[in-house]
């Protein structure tokens, strides 16, 4: 027996002795260092492979770059989005690395990777499957990739519109916002086929994100666009809108105009499914809230400031991610439901989103 094996055996014996001496109790074992807290998606700077994950624990202490701390390597280039499933697996979509990293959400230890992707954006899960939007090449039609959760293999690829972004599951369908086609693709989850494409009204452009309200209807945030002349000089804007779509009849509601010139990029709904929060994005000032029964956009934000991304916890507290640039650390500021500042945290480069542990 070599020295390593001897040491390992000794450690096991000593460990089991301590274990056997411990008194049994009903206190649930901690699943890992990251079981309770908030994950911050730090996009990093394009081309530098310095994307990272920051973690704010339940006591408000911050840990930076936990993926590298645990796994000994950088996460990759441009961290786009993250999702935690019911099995406590976290899926980290790394856009410019064309991959989804799979880690244990409690320990952040690497489990696997989903490759064979081309510019992936957002991910959701259902049962044994993962649904991932991806852009493909510039100007090409986007795709919905369906991957097997067990082994990460890609089972189906469904062509959707151009530059697909956010996606939601409603009824037995996956809805995908095609940001440059100005359409919503609807995929039947039984047959894994494109069942319908909804066209948005003229002038309602750049659908980015969707949420499902308490009635089961889908709300779409359409960011609008900056208009350019042939020399790429900006000459105007199309407005940003919220639009409600009946998930059963697919009937579009009346678009709610948010702004003529400001292009909001983030949409979140509270846990009751009755209040929408929109705002944030590239240089966008303010986070606003509107009830799902509302029809007029508020003039005053609930939180002032330039947030690259934000999210709401179950208590209605707002976590706003601030990215001052793409070369130094960003911050996250938390606010209560009235917009009063609670706390401030230093995180990694380019924080673009906030995900809560299960």
């Amino acid at each position: 027996m070599n020295r390593f094996n001897t040491a390992l055996l000794s450690a096991l014996i000593i460990g089991s002795t301590f274990t056997s001496c411990q008194k049994d109790d009903d206190t649930p074992k901690e699943k890992g260092a990251y079981e309770h807290g908030v994950f911050i998606q730090n996009e990093g700077s394009f081309g530098n492979s310095n994307a990272s994950v920051s973690f704010i624990d339940s006591e408000g202490k911050t840990q930076s770059n936990i993926f590298k701390t645990v796994n000994g390597r950088n996460l990759g280039d441009v961290f786009q989005s993250m999702m935690i499933d019911n099995d406590d697996k976290a899926y980290l979509v790394v856009n410019n690395s064309n991959k989804v990293e799979i880690v244990n959400a409690n320990t952040f230890e690497e489990i696997g990777v989903i490759a064979d992707l081309k510019s992936p954006r957002y991910i959701i899960e259902d049962g044994d499957f993962l649904y991932i939007t991806q852009w493909n090449g510039w100007g090409e039609k986007g795709s919905l990739k369906i991957a097997n959760k067990n082994d990460g293999s890609i089972g189906s690829t469904i062509e959707v519109g151009n530059a697909p972004e956010g996606l939601v599951k409603v009824n037995n369908e996956i809805w995908i916002a095609n940001s440059t086609s100005n359409t919503i693709s609807i995929v039947n989850m039984q047959s894994n086929t494109l069942s319908m494409t909804l066209n948005l009204p003229v002038d309602v452009e750049a659908p980015k994100h969707m949420v499902v309200d308490s009635d089961g209807d889908v709300w779409v945030l359409c960011s609008g666009n900056v208009l350019y002349d042939s020399s790429w000089n900006p000459i105007g804007n199309t407005p940003s809108y919220l639009i409600e779509i009946n998930s059963s009849t697919k009937k579009l509601g009346t678009p709610i105009k948010l702004s003529q010139t400001v292009h909001y990029s983030n949409l979140v709904i509270d846990k009751n499914g009755t209040n929408l929060f929109y705002g944030g994005g590239f240089g966008v000032i303010g986070i606003f809230t509107i009830e799902t029964s509302g029809s007029i956009a508020p003039a005053i934000p609930i939180v002032d400031g330039v947030f690259y991304g934000f999210n709401l916890d179950d208590e209605g507290n707002i976590y706003g991610a601030i990215a001052p640039n793409y070369s130094s650390n960003g911050t996250v500021t938390t606010f209560d439901s009235s917009g009063k500042e609670i706390a401030h945290y230093v995180v990694g480069i380019g924080p673009n989103g906030v995900v809560f542990s299960n």
Binding site: V226, N233, N325
Partner: protein, 635 residues
Amino acid sequence: MNIKKLFFIVFVFCLNQLPGQEVSKDTIYELINIDLMDTRAKDFSTGFKVETLDKNLLKTFSGNSVADALSAGSGVNIKSYGPGGLSSISIRGGGSYHTAILWNGINLQSPMNGGLNLSSIPMDLIGDISLQYGGSGSLAGSGAAFGVLRLSSSSGLRKENTAFLSSSVGSYSNYRLALGSNFYIKNSLFSIKGFYQSSENDFEFVNTAKFGSPTEKQSNSAYSQYGIIVDNKTTVGENTTFLASLFFNNYDKDIQTLMSDYTPSEANQVDNNLLVTAIFKYSKNRLNINFKNAYIGAKLHFTDPMSPDPESKSASSSFISELESNYFTSENQNLYTAINYTYENADSGGYSSNPSRNRLSFIAAYKFSHLWDKVNIALSLRQELIDSNFNPLQYSIGVDGNIVSFLDFNFNFGKVYRIPTMNDLYWRETGFAVGNPDLIDESGYSSDFGLTQTIGGDFIDIKFGQSIFYNYINNLIIWAQLDNGKWKPLNKNIGKSKGLELSVDFSSRIFGSKIGIKESYTYTDASTSDDEGGSWQKQVYTPTHNSNTNLWWEYKNLRSDFSLNYYSDRNIDNAGNTLEGYSIGDFSVSYFFDLKKINIQITAKANNLWNTQYQVTSGYAMPLRNYMLTARFSI
């Protein structure tokens, strides 16, 4: 090529053939090198630490680029995006655009972005490389804030009627062929060289950025290049010499896939560069007059189907004309004056128009040599006018000399500056970025003090060197994100750099062989901040410690070289993320012999001897151990 450029080139080379007086060939067999092309470097680098790379070492890099030679043969920091990829130089903690890169005295830094890819300059076309540590705005102009890299073209005009052919084969399907000739026609000496090189560059590496650390082959990293350089020297009369050179280079490079990327890159970049220079030299009694003219043209074509802008083209042109005189007022004093006119223009899809600018510089310098038989002092001034705006006056003082027989010293202090690039000034407004025509120059100063001790004997030569330096730059131009989300260049930061350089150069002759060790170590503390009272961030990609060791041995027809480079951890951003330090060693052995009248040199080279897994730039893989075999035939 338009009519103006064609006329200019034809004019330059037709002038060469003007009949002149037949003169002794002995007066012609001179070296066309940096001394002849760059008066300011020759006469006014007083007080600066200047390092000239060992010519014998450079010979072992004949199949490599200037970036490779500088990495292995000097103490400067080369940032590289992989083999053949974009490589830039950093001296004493400055950015790549803070080191002027002069080719035969002409600044090659791009007016569009202030940079130059040193991977695209093959060593086949280089005669000499020297490094000036420390900046000098008055002598080298904009961009020479932390140092100057001086390259000179072929030194092949030593003999008439010579020719060579050199070929290499190396790892990763790396093939190279270079050939050239020197010949004499009437009163003109010519040197013509051409080369072609290609490499699949598909090296194997352990991908530590991916799950499971798989061993992979680098994808989309092939490159090929070809080029030609022509040098000419014609003695027109007893006092007049005409020097001309033409350099053309085509560089076709696939942009290598990032280590973390699961989809191979499809990006590619093709660069075409043209440099033409023509210099009239007149010397009589105490007066030397030079009239220099140069054209620099650069074209870039970038394609990437995955990019929002899948194809982009850009081009820039610079016309430079300089009249300089150097008058010796006495045996040990000389007055230098020059007027330099530079016209720059650029054409890019990134600009809403084709910007141009006119730059006019007035330069004066005075030098006292051998004061008290021991001390040299050089003072210099530069006033630059850009379009209708005067830049602040630049000045510098340099002093060097001998304290006691074995101890020399050098000191210099000077103002430095860097004008904004055209990208900074004229980038068209989009939803994401906008240029800033209101930018002002980066400005600051550079200073250092050094000592050297030389010990010589019949069998041993030892030279020790110690330098301390301090550089300060204000109004650093940083692309920052505005409240409206757009990126815009601003005069935002301050930069400081201080440090220490130590060197030992030892050589000895024992039992008919020669051995030598050249060791240099640099400690650099470089940082930037928004303001003096703010927090200071370590300068990215600047190692605190780096060292370079060259060990060589010569015996009869055999020479071997071993080089060892060490770089400590480097910050890759201002968020505290770092790249691990690394050390790599290279070894080469050359054998020289004659076969009838043909001189033959065979060189075998092994790089990265102990298979270090390392990254120079975050996310870009570097090759493990690799080899190259070169044969050179000359007559």
